[in-house]
Point group: C3
Chain length 130, copies 3
């Protein structure tokens, strides 16, 4: 079993960062299996979705902001409950299959780190099972 | 490790297709372990929920349509941003335990392929770990 | 592979129960790997989020109740479609990495069993891969 961490730096409060290449590089030299990804933060998430048109990412962020607005009368004193709730709904973990050194994401799929309370230094844990 | 693909054909734009039997058949001959399922599409999802009463599926679709309506001022020019957002919120992957040739889903549980932008030919990747 | 069940008793209709210690105890004696957790109920979920401030949990429940209210004209005759929909959106499964007998959850992370239709006796299946 191979494991480690990926470093991610976000530059906005809300930002979807395409990390497909970073993740893909981890499995370049190995065969067939599953890579498991885990975000050890409670105000960020991870998802797979379209990477071709950046408008999809903007639509996602807009919709999440409409449904779960920032600073809308939450009890948590830090003021970032919207970020925690988005993290739970989007999810903080993911697995992706790979084969012959390539992630099996589908034609339009990319892996996105979802920053919901940046800008910050973040990390992502991974484990690879062959 | 056993792996492969399942073919799925949807017949509506929005449709939850019960694929429990298709998935169950994959593990009929093997012992105890985990089956990992991955949807390589960015406008579809997968979830486990009640399979006894079809009204549950209708309630899910109605609620998702209320929260994330079709064609409601999205920037993505293809017009199916609702499908992408639903895919992220519902999720595009799942694992299920099995034992003695049976999925351990609980009394009422079924596995559903969630079509959010059909009708289409779709596929599902799987890997089985014993 | 090690597997088994955790028993959980909820005392409210809607309740997030911190099960980090219960899960942590399962991996106390083993090395490095992944614990997979699966909720075999269709009206409950599981998530990782902040365990330090209980207000975060209240904010989550309030927001989910606002978006998916109880008894709001659903077709499912049992009247608990809100619980089914929350289960799908939050998710009913989770994996967590561990190392040297400790869950790798991050500084503020806890594992929560999300009861959406209690009070009830519930269970959680697990499998541990080293």
């Amino acid at each position: 079993m191979i494991d480690g961490e990926i470093d991610i730096i976000s530059s906005e409060r809300i930002e979807n960062i395409n990390i497909s290449s970073q993740v893909g590089n981890l499995i370049n030299s190995v065969g067939k299996g599953i890579i498991f990804l885990f975000v050890p933060h409670t105000t960020a998430g991870i998802f797979v979705n379209e990477s071709a048109d950046p408008a999809v990412s903007l639509d996602i962020n807009k919709k999440l902001a409409d449904l779960i607005p920032y600073g809308a009368g939450y009890r948590h004193m830090e003021g970032n409950s919207d970020s925690h709730i988005k993290s739970i709904i989007v999810g903080n973990q993911l697995f992706v299959f790979f084969e012959k050194g390539k992630l099996k994401l589908g034609t339009w799929g990319g892996i996105f780190f979802a920053e919901f309370d940046g800008p910050r230094r973040r990390k992502l844990y991974y484990q690879i099972q062959l």
